[in-house]
Every structure is written in C-alpha cells, then in structure tokens.
C-alpha cells in the first residue's frame, strides 16, 4: 500500500466518496451500510457495525468485502459460498477480502460467533441486491422482461428454448460505474433453495496449505526487514525503574527504542535481537502478587466495580430465598475453572512498515479495526494513516485481540526506518498474552419432593455471564456475575464464560438428578424450556444408546461410566455424551464422545463438522488437564512441555451429529460445541466412581483423586 496522498479508508467515507471504480475498475458496486447486530434470543446486541459491499468487475469477477477475518474457523469459504449462491456463479469467481482496514467495512471484531449471524447475513443481502441489479441490466440488454432473465454460472440469459446467447457478468457491467445501495425489501435466497451453500465444498486455499505456500504473518519477510523484540517485565505488577540501553545500542545494526515503559530492540537477525534484549540492563520494582494456592480467596476478596468488558447479568424472577428456605431438597456447591491459555500454534506475529507518515501493519488479529483505532490513538496519527491487513493466521481462539505488539513493531520500524517483524516465542506467547479468566461459581438450588426444581441461585465470580441463564423451567431464579481485580491478565477466549457456566450448571443438574433419584436425561427433558435443545439432547442420547439410570452405577460397570450434558449458547444448541473408564489405578480414560449441534441452516457442512469435532477436542484439554500455574506474579509452566494440550492419544472416537434447520437463521458454531464436554465427562466420572469433581481441570495428573 503506497502512502500516496488521498488514501482514505472506505469505512471513514460515505459510499459516494469511496473510489471503488478507481481501485477495482469499472463495474457495479452494491453497498449495505453498517447494521445493528442481528437479534437472536440468546445473542448479544451492540452498536451498528459490519455491512458489506460487492463489486462486479468487467473481468467477470465478483469482489466481496467484509470486516470479519479468517483465523482458521473456515468462514472465508462459507462466506464466499453464500456470495456465489446469491450471485449464481462458481465460487472460483468470488474474491473475498476480509478485515483489510483500507477497503472493508468497519467491524468490531471476529468474536462471539458473529460471522454467521452478521457477516453471512450482510453478504447474502448484498449479494441478493447485486443479483437483482444484474437481472435488471440483463433484461435491458436482452430485450426481455426481468422475470424472463435467468442467471447461471456467472452468465445471464433469457429463459426458454429461444434464449439468446448468454451474457457474462463482465459484459453486463462493461463501461459502468454504477453504485447502488441494498434496498430494504431485498430477499436473499432461502436456505431450502440453496444449490451451492449447504453442500460439500473444498476449502479455498487448500492447495497452498498442503504445499507450504500459504504465507502467514510470521512468514513475511520484505527486503531490509529487521527482527524486533520487546523487553518484558519479569513478573506481573512490576514497574520499570531504570534501564541502561548503551550495551544493546552498541551491537551492530541494532536499534533500541524507549518510550515510557516500552523498551524494544530491532536487529538484523533473531539471535542478535535476543542478544540485544539480554544486553539491556533493567531494574524493576516488583509488587506482591497472589499465587495459585490462594486464588479463590483472593478473587472473593477483590470484587471490582464497573462492567469492564464482560456482560454483566442480573437476572431475577420469583423469590429465590423463600423458595430455597421452603424446599425439601436443597443443594449448595461451588465449581471452579482454571486460567488457561489459548496456545494458537502460530504465536502472535506482526510486521510493521512505514511509508512517510503512513503505517501499514500485517498482523494475525481478530480485531483489525479496533487495532487501527488503537494504533492511531497511541501514535498520534489520523486513522487514515494506519492500514491493517490480516494475512492467514495460525488460529486465534479469542487470543488475538490486542494491539500492543503492533505498537511495538510500529515504534521500532519508525526508529529504524525499516520494516520490523515481531514474532513471539512460545514462552512469550504464554507469558505476555492473556488468559481465559478463572471462574468461581456458587450454585444453590432447591427441589420439591417430586424432584421438580423450585429454586436456582447462580453466581459467577470473575468469569462472565455467557450461558449462565437457565434453559430449564424454574419459577424462582437469581443469576448474576461479578467482575474482580484479576491478578493475571485475562481476556476473550473461545467459549470462555459459557464453558465455565455450563460446567457448573450441568454438573449441578446431574447432582440434583442423582439426589432426587431421576435419570439425568429424563430429568433434563422434564425441565427443558427449549424444544430445539430437547431435540438435540434426544438425538445424542439415541446415538449413544443411553440407558436410563438413577444415581451412580459404578458397581455395575467395571469402572465405566456415562454422562451427558446440554448447552445453549450463541444461538446454537449442543449436547455432549461421554463414556469414560476409571481404572483400578484411578487413571481416567475417555472412551467415547458424542457431540450434537443444531445451529440453524447449515451453510458449509464439511467445515461445520470440522468445527464441531475440533471444538470438542479443544474442550477436552480444558476439561481434563489444561491449567496455567502461577506464583508471585510469574507463570510457572510457560512451555508446551509443561502445559499439555490435547494430542492424538488424548482423543477418543468422537461422533458428530448435525441437526440441519433450513427454516432457521444460521448461527455461529465456533464456540458452542465446546461447552458441554467438561460437564459430560465430569458426570461420567461420577457415574463410574460415585465421586463428584467440581473443578476444571478435572484430572490434572491424569488420575481421579
């Protein structure tokens, strides 16, 4: 991207001011302005964002633009498929640009499973409106009424046997510079009529992946590039008192920058950059930090005011105190989940370069637009002078939302006059990113003599509110959450609060079922207020060959146990079944998992299956053994050899059941498949042993305590 005068990001201009045709050539452009996030009963609202635009060029190509990014979740193919569907052309003619802040619509970020409910819907609407304009143009050129125009494989022709020669889209728009806005009356093609979407599809870019040709940010290496490295504090809560830069500055080719608390170096090669950081002599003032063994008490004693970035939930119905006081059966338990790490296989990577006053940053990011705004703010630049592009990214899982590393690279690039790339080492990734927050969840419940639940009090400390609401019918409820002054940096994570809240709720449901002598499946169905979730639960129970039971059946089964759990999150419905064996040496073995998901109309079935299976595998790690260990502000296990994540030998046979609902809007599926795994396994362990485990990870040493 050149720094030529007048580069102005499209999202900062009105549609008429954007130079679509100068950049992409003559043709047709159709624009959908920013939209309010679509409402789903369990979705989350927010300010208008997103929207989309589509350019049909004289080359017959369709260029579509969205602010969402692809970080491995497969939306590039799914969204391209929807554009191809609406425009009736082969997917090979669709070129989707994602998250490029110069030419894409402003977007708050790729998180919260919003790509399908928002970006997909926006591209479908824009695609449908583009199709309608193409039909109108074709009708005029063919001399037939619009109703007699048929679009197919990127060409228009008149219906019927006497049809004239088909006209390609490129010819339809030749010489045009036509800009349209999506009319409010626009109707996308209903999912039951899809001919491309909803059908098997090979992912875009597959060949590049298997040949090593795909270039991730950490692979980019422009001429003259330097390698950057940041000086980090030795522990959380440390303050930089003084630093001597002279020895580092004396190294050949090394640039050292200090601005406030930021100290970084740039060098011609990574070993020299490493040596330069080592040569910095820094004095730090440390402050006392809580350690892992005291963390639950610490969080209880350090509530934080304000809403920070979690949704705060205060839900009340009926009179929970009175109902608890009068309930013949009551339970009061506490559940916890650990701080865990995202561990994207590609660590954080950024490449910053300047051309005059204009900064371009390539980075693996889930939030390119907020990153642009943060960089402009920190560096005193106008947003027009910051350009973020998001190359293929070696996954994010919610971990790539920050802009600090981009700021570091930008400062080093400015000072050195060269492009600067920073790639975190694995240890830096563990220590200087942020974690999934720990949750401490207190649940109190009451039930009548018939087992019917009458009272439900649920309180999440530190972990957020997602999926905390009950999918069950209970007259008296109090559900809320409370932020705290977390001693470890924490932030977004794939299915973060939903995993914790679902673990607590579905474990507790199982405890209640056992207490009242009810079968866990029947007990849930008796209380479920959501027919779609009930359908998923029934499908999973049927596939698993569920045998009704009451209480733990350890004594029947030679260490084998079976558990089930459900969840409702981000508009999707999930149920997971687990079968485990606890050996005589107390070793836990997960023998079989079944995950069923319903997330509305299925767009890209092969990718959805991959997401559900992959999410189930990722959840096994957090359920069984992943935990960040910390003491006095230091991470004790910042290596893959010390922080295990699921490997081949951890993965049992997994059945994936997809329930397609073409009559319902498509919802995201990157997060929901994770949330019922931990409680299903915990419930299976209870079935096998009679022991109830209430903390994640369940078996950090591999054995049931």
């Amino acid at each position: 991207m050149s720094a030529r005068e007048g580069v102005r990001p499209f999202d900062l201009l009105t549609p008429a001011e954007r130079d679509y045709f100068g950049r992409f050539g003559n043709g047709l452009v159709v624009v959908l302005p920013a939209q309010r996030p679509s409402t789903s009963d369990w979705g989350r609202g927010g300010p208008p964002h997103g929207g989309a635009w589509i350019h049909v060029g004289q080359d017959g190509k369709v260029r579509a633009f969205t602010g969402k990014v692809e970080v491995g979740q497969g939306t590039r193919t799914a969204l391209s498929l929807l554009v191809a569907e609406e425009l009736r052309l082969p997917i090979s003619l669709v070129e989707l640009t994602m998250g490029d802040t110069d030419v894409c619509p402003w977007d708050m970020g790729t998180y919260g499973s919003r790509s399908m409910p928002d970006a997909a819907q926006h591209l479908r609407l824009t695609g449908a409106a583009t199709r309608n304009v193409l039909v109108e143009i074709a009708a005029a050129q063919l001399g037939v009424p619009p109703g007699d125009v048929e679009l197919s494989e990127g060409r228009a022709q008149s219906k019927g046997p006497r049809g004239a020669k088909p006209i390609g889209y490129g010819d339809l728009v030749r010489g045009l510079r036509r800009l349209e806005t999506v009319p409010t009356s626009t109707q996308p093609i209903p999912p039951p009529e899809w001919t491309r979407a909803g059908h098997p599809m090979v992912d875009i870019g597959s060949r590049e992946v298997v040949t090593g040709a795909r270039q991730y940010t950490s692979d980019l290496h422009p001429p003259g590039m330097l390698h950057g490295k940041v000086l980090f504090a030795p522990s959380y809560g440390s303050k930089l008192l003084r630093v001597d830069l002279s020895r580092a500055q004396a190294l050949p080719g090394v640039t050292v920058v200090r601005e406030g608390d930021f100290v970084g170096v740039a060098a011609p090669d990574p070993p020299t950059a490493q040596a330069a950081v080592k040569a910095l002599r820094a004095d730090w003032e440390t402050s006392p930090q809580p350690s892992e063994k005291d963390i639950v008490d610490y969080l209880r004693q350090h509530p934080a005011e304000g809403e920070d970035f979690w949704d705060v939930l205060h839900h009340k119905s009926g009179d929970v105190d009175a109902a608890l006081a009068s309930a013949p059966i009551s339970l009061h338990e506490t559940y916890t989940t650990a701080y865990i790490a995202h561990v994207p296989l590609e660590t954080h990577a950024v490449l910053a370069s300047w051309e005059g006053e204009r900064l371009t940053v390539a980075m693996g990011s889930q939030t390119p637009f907020p990153a642009r705004d943060a960089l402009a703010d920190a560096l005193g630049l106008h947003e027009s002078n910051v350009h973020i592009v998001v190359p293929p990214t070696g996954a994010g899982f919610g971990g790539k939302h920050a802009a600090e590393l981009a700021m570091a690279a930008a400062r080093l690039a400015k000072a050195s006059g060269r492009p600067v790339r920073i790639v975190y080492t694995r240890e830096e990734e563990f220590t200087h990113a942020y974690f999934r927050p720990m949750s401490v969840i207190d649940v109190r419940s009451g039930a009548g003599k018939d087992g019917g639940i009458t009272a439900w009090e649920f309180h999440n400390l530190n972990g957020g509110s997602a999926a905390a609401r009950l999918p069950y019918r209970v007259a008296n409820q109090k559900i809320d959450n409370q932020s705290t002054d977390s001693p470890l940096p924490q932030g977004p994570y794939r299915a973060l609060a939903a995993t914790a809240n679902n673990f607590a709720r579905e474990s507790h449901m199982d405890e209640l079922a056992a207490r009242v002598g009810a079968d866990p499946v029947e007990y849930r169905l008796r209380h479920l207020a959501d027919d779609r979730l009930a359908a998923v639960l029934r499908a999973v129970a049927a596939r698993a060959g569920w045998v009704p039971r009451t209480g733990s059946t350890a004594h029947f089964r030679d260490g084998r146990g079976r558990g089930i759990a459900v969840g409702l999150e981000k508009g999707g419905r999930v149920a997971t079944f687990a079968e485990v064996r606890v050996g005589s040496d107390r070793r836990l073995e997960v023998l079989h998992l079944v995950t069923g998901l319903e997330c509305g109309a299925i767009v890209h079935p092969s990718n959805l299956r991959n997401q559900v299976a992959g999410g189930t595998v990722m959840a096994i790690g957090g359920a069984l053994f992943e935990a960040i260990h910390f003491e006095h502000g230091r991470i004790l296990n910042p290596k893959l050899s010390e922080y295990p994540v699921p490997r081949f030998h951890d993965v049992p046979p997994i059945d994936v059941i997809l329930l397609d609902r073409p009559d319902l809007p498509s919802q995201g599926a990157g997060e929901t498949p994770l949330i019922a795994v931990a409680p299903a396994i915990a419930n299976a362990i209870f079935d096998a042993t009679g022991q109830r485990l209430r903390s994640l990870p369940l078996v950090p040493e591999g054995t049931v305590p």
Binding site: T211, S218, Q274, P392, F648, V651, D655
Partner: protein
C-alpha cells in the same frame, strides 16, 4: 525460527541439500535447521511452533525420516538429503498424502499441516498400512490446536488406501 542466543561461533561456508537443490549456507554448526531453512533459505513452509521439539510444526524429512528441525543442529544434517513441505509435490502433482489432506479437509488454520503431512509421509514410508494404534503413536508428536485429529487420521488412512471411516471411527 529458533531464537537461540547469538554465539560468536566461527562461521564456515558449507552446503545444504534441500529439495534436491544444493544451497550454500554460512554455518553456525549449532544453529537449528529450522532457523537456516526459514531465515537463510526463505523456506517458510516449515513452521516455528515451540522451539523445544514439542509440537511438530517444524518437521522435515531427513533421508525420508521426519525430524523436528527446531531441535536439530544444522551441523548434523550437512551431506544428508532434506525435504521440506515445498519439495514434496512433483511439479504440479501433489504427493498422495497432500492430496488426501485436501480430500479429507484435514486442517483448519493450516499452520500444523506441513509438519503433519511430513510426519505422515515418514510413517507411511516405513509402514504402508499402519494400524490405528500405529498412526496414533507415530503422530503423537504433532500438535493441532484446532483439534483436527479425526480428519488427519482419516487423511492418513486415505493416503494408505485403508477403508474409509466416518467421523467417530478413531482415533
């Protein structure tokens, strides 16, 4: 890119045979093969994931056997035949394992894929019809954080022309 500390070791010019081509390199004998491939030869298909031999993203073939290039000093492989992911296909014709990964859709972010493919090639070269347990054991040193193990397992079976299984078959 292995980020080992800079050592003022004497440098000697030598040669490395990668994907059938001989490249002159400036040799620090203790520098990792991964570093030389990525930073000196620009072969970025080989990935850095951990730098301690735990994740397998950096695997390459040395005389046909998969090794972790991040913990392999380059001095150990001078004179050997090195194959990276870029050298696996023959012209436009993909290696059967590469094709099987596409056919099974056996990746999500794709970052582990080069290492996965080379580990699979190495396995099938010495054991053309591996059992489920043998696949599991051979692939246990390769991490896929996206959790794509079921598809990877299927891709290996497909490349070995073993009967297809639906999701859920294994591992």
């Amino acid at each position: 890119m292995s980020l080992e500390p800079s050592q003022a070791l004497p440098r000697a010019a030598t040669q490395l045979r990668v994907n059938g081509t001989v490249h002159p390199i400036s040799l620090d004998r203790d520098r990792s093969l991964l570093y030389v491939l990525r930073e000196e030869l620009g072969l970025t298909g080989t990935k850095y994931g951990c730098g301690e031999g735990e994740c397998g993203a950096c695997k390459v073939l040395i005389d046909g056997v998969a090794v972790r290039s991040c913990v392999t000093p380059v001095g150990e492989v001078v004179g050997r035949s090195i194959t990276t992911i870029e050298g696996l296909a023959e012209g436009d014709r993909l290696h059967p394992v590469q094709q099987a990964f596409i056919d099974e859709g056996a990746f999500q972010c794709g970052f582990c894929t080069p290492g996965m493919i080379l580990a699979s090639v190495s396995l099938l070269a010495r054991n053309p019809r591996p059992s489920e347990g043998e696949i599991r054991a051979a692939m246990d040193g390769n991490l896929c954080r996206c959790g794509g193990y079921l598809r990877i397992f299927q891709a290996i079976r497909r490349a070995a022309q073993l009967p297809e299984k639906v999701d859920g078959g294994a591992p």
